[in-house]
Symmetry: C2
Subunit: 545 residues, 2 copies
């Protein structure tokens, strides 16, 4: 027996409809690539999204199911393209400008991008790269006629404002199925080629509904939301959908993500909520420290995720600026929000510092995210805060496969997606990432967390940076090697480091050797490149063996 | 092109799964029908829901698609039946004990209820009624063996605790389609027969997700939620779904809804949020006034809806008890939540009393509720706070038809449901109910609000109660007749009333006549029965005609 409720597909354009209809005068403030601050509203966003939708169909022959790339900062034109193209059933493939040219080339061709909408910033990149992007029909430069590059070598360059001017502000959205694709984002791919995640209208709408909840991002119409996290970084953690969903004011920082520029926007626009990775917040806090008269009176809370957040950073916001910190975890494959650090009712009684021991963890899943940790054989591990295993998730906003079926081994028969993270779950349900599964060191069937070893080693006097990797071992399968960079002019020996670690980690976790190097390799995102390190030490043999 | 996100049907049992898995130790506290306070948890609710599901299948032969009735107060056993039966694909039909026997009889037979789960309270009702409920196979009395009535005349009486004891706590839910029916609730039907609304798993899950948002009921894990609004009254305004969805503690008031009983629970269990109709809150406030030492230190907010809420009631909560009031509107056909009175960011600047003029309205729609007002020809009316028209809604948790296609005229070709309410929408999007469409008086193609006439007349000295109805008129189609009950011993004339109204309503709204009666007829719910009044005055002719 079927229910008798309305067939109302969950389409992302319904979010824009709602914002335009009920919050039409709410502002969207953007720092433009061209320089000035730009102001518009949800009503105007709706009209221009419809314009670009109709013009994209008529002038560029973009059709339902076509994959169209954007390489753009967070700004009003990116929102217009986003909603406009998704609204006609095209798939918006957000390109990350921080990718290496090789990866970009691979991704554009693999996705089958037909057109690329690009900010002025990235025109030089595509001028260099376009010969390797043979299937791309042309480039829409997201600026006005006055700012169009005079002599661009781009193939078929189109001025965005000219294009939109030819469109129809009253264009009616076609009726789409909620399971149709509307977005695509490639994982960074530290091993192997990047893999494409394909979001549906349904997954994006459900994910945004999850995100607005009080124990998630707690978004209301009274918020002024600044998504620093880019739209090309897993849907700006839903904010390009969830802020309009509730009628929050949006503040889009454009290309300037330094501390001073962000502070200026937070202050001038009275931002109440923002979201970014730790690096961004470190820059903002640094700017505030350099200018002790500056405060954050309007900023009620910040969401932090994307990589492990140092406790000192969290405490600086809370204790110095009275800004609440919400620790979150997620990934491209989970749209991305997977956990939130909101306090549970059953933990109300905890003393301040007791609560902080949980608050620094990555948080707990909301309704719509199923989560478990398992050993290598898929057996569920206990929620005791100690056992760590492969973190697996399931839900309506979590990938069931990658584009063209790449990386199928990440998905099991019961629909669980193996995140590649290794984590614990405590008795209250709070998850803490302990490692990446490919970095964990497997010694005699047991796991050693490379990150915990590194964190312990960092505390040793004279140690500037440390990285732990597994080295093949005839008896134990793998044993840990600790690679250390000394602080300038510091004296520290292998024995000093091992003595420091003793008592801080289990005895069998102690590295079999410590080697000193001048520099540890890093990825473009600033993380330690374990991949390169493993390459560097692939022939290493422990002396004692 | 389809998205590649997981197929994760929106089933109500997933809400319980989430609560049991991540908030398993969170309490459900109920005032039992038998007397004592009962305490359980979401983990135990999950086990017992699975038990009753397996036992219902095995012992009562209840199958997917079967319609099963409950007549029960808000309590833990009702939650078990609710989730257990919905989980196996049965349809839980909640019966309202306040219905007249005739309606109950009609509803049970129309719905095709196969079994009735009843609280002890209602056993006498069914003993009397059961001969007219031939298709009902039997009655499960929701109590334990010790409290089973010794000599009940009920057909096939089954003791609930015996039944559940035979079930399997580890029963696995079958895989259902999210569009399958899971709940049924009949509208009160002031005209014609009651009509059945059939909820789906999908509509209930989406509705609960809408309800938890900060601008809706703002539910978090830190809340202790007391649904006074019954589960048989349109899903307890989502709370039986939305509280477990976020891991809030639940406090279920059982059969005792008087001021003192509710106060005791609010105080003892530190309730932070509650929801009820105005009558309930008037009883609570009366109890507090009688006991001036009592305060509401934990109660952060109450949701009020179901009928127009007097401003004085709202102000008493806010100004005397520092408890925020959320005005809401909805109906059985909209699951029921349709609007919420949360303040918009663009209204932050309003002075206190300016905001109160908006706060007393019914509120604005959340994402997931489309709303418009139209004239009789379906033309949309402006959002100016003055024009009033038929209130129409659309959305994924709004009915597309009634059970067995009753009342098809309420639904138009574009999917809009005509609520039967008449309302205004102001420039900020806040809706205010001005009348029921069948009560509005249509004079020369224009509408006169019967409720506004009545409210104006009530202010006239000597008038105890007033009702306005339309009387057929050869020229104007209808003209208003005002029916008045005088206060005891008061002297008030037709001319006095008309003089009082002059200047308070538009001149063409002035009633063509005023008649005095000893009593105005009321419905079982205490509202003025316009239907009976129109019957009484069906042969009335204005003298001046």
């Amino acid at each position: 027996m079927l229910g008798l409720m309305q067939d109302w597909p969950l389409l992302v354009t319904r979010i824009l409809d709602h914002a335009a209809q009920w919050h039409g005068d709410r502002e969207i403030v953007s720092r433009s690539v061209e320089g000035p601050i730009h102001r518009t509203t949800y009503a105007e966003l709706d009209r221009r999204a419809r314009s670009i939708a109709s013009a994209a169909g008529r002038e560029l022959n973009i059709k339902r199911g076509d994959v169209i790339a954007t390489m753009a900062w967070n700004g009003w034109r990116h929102l217009e393209v986003w909603y406009g193209l998704m609204g006609i059933g095209a798939v918006v493939h957000t390109l990350n400008p921080r990718l290496f040219a090789d990866q970009l080339d691979y991704i554009v061709n693999h996705a089958g991008d037909q057109w690329i909408f690009t900010d002025l910033t990235f025109v030089p990149i595509f001028e260099k790269l376009q010969d390797r992007l043979a299937a791309v029909k042309g480039f829409v430069v997201m600026t006005d006629r006055a700012h169009m590059p005079a002599e661009t070598k781009l193939r078929n360059p189109i001025c965005y404002e000219d294009l939109i001017a030819s469109g129809d502000t009253g264009f009616a959205w076609p009726q789409l199925d909620e399971n149709e694709a509307c977005g695509m984002c490639y994982t960074s791919g530290t091993t192997g080629n990047p893999k494409g995640v394909v979001y549906s209208h349904r997954s994006n709408v459900l994910h945004a509904m999850m995100a607005v909840a009080p124990d998630a991002l707690a978004l209301s119409s009274r918020d002024t939301v600044m998504p620093v996290v880019p739209m090309f970084h897993a849907n700006s953690w839903s904010l390009a959908f969830s802020a309009p969903m509730v009628g929050a004011k949006l503040v889009m920082p454009g290309p300037k993500l330094d501390g001073q520029s962000l502070y200026e926007l937070i202050d001038a626009e009275q931002v109440t909520m923002s979201a970014a990775v730790p690096t961004i917040w470190l820059m903002l806090l640094h700017h505030l420290e350099q200018n002790p008269h500056l405060k954050l009176p309007h900023l009620e809370r910040v969401a932090i995720g994307g990589s492990a957040c140092p406790e000192a950073l969290m405490r600086a916001f809370v204790e110095r600026y009275d800004t609440e910190v919400l620790h979150a975890w997620g990934m491209t494959e989970s749209s991305p929000l997977g956990t939130f650090g909101a306090r549970k009712g059953t933990l109300k009684h905890l003393a301040h510092e007791e609560w902080w021991r949980i608050k620094v963890k990555q948080g707990r899943p909301p309704f719509g995210v199923e989560m478990k940790i398992t050993d290598d054989e898929g057996r569920a591990l206990p929620h005791d805060g100690k056992a760590f295993g492969r973190l697996k998730i399931r839900g309506p906003a979590i990938a069931k496969s990658y584009f063209k079926d790449d990386g199928a081994s990440s998905f099991d028969a019961e629909g669980w997606f193996d995140t590649g993270d290794v984590s614990t779950l405590d008795e209250h349900g709070y998850m803490a990432i302990t490692d990446r599964s490919k970095d964990v060191i497997k010694s005699g069937g047991e796991w050693i967390s490379s990150i915990e070893l590194e964190n312990a080693a960092i505390g040793c006097p004279g140690v500037a940076e440390a990285a732990a990797i597994g080295i093949a071992h005839p008896k134990w399968s793998e044993r840990p090697l600790l690679v250390v960079v000394k602080k300038a002019n510091a004296e520290v020996s292998r024995e000093d480091v091992l003595a420091h670690l003793t008592g801080k980690v289990a005895k069998w976790w102690l590295p079999d050797d410590v080697v000193f190097v001048d520099e540890i390799p890093h990825t473009a995102a600033g993380k330690i490149s374990k991949l390169t390190l493993r390459q560097m030490f692939k022939d290493f043999v422990f002396e004692a063996n």
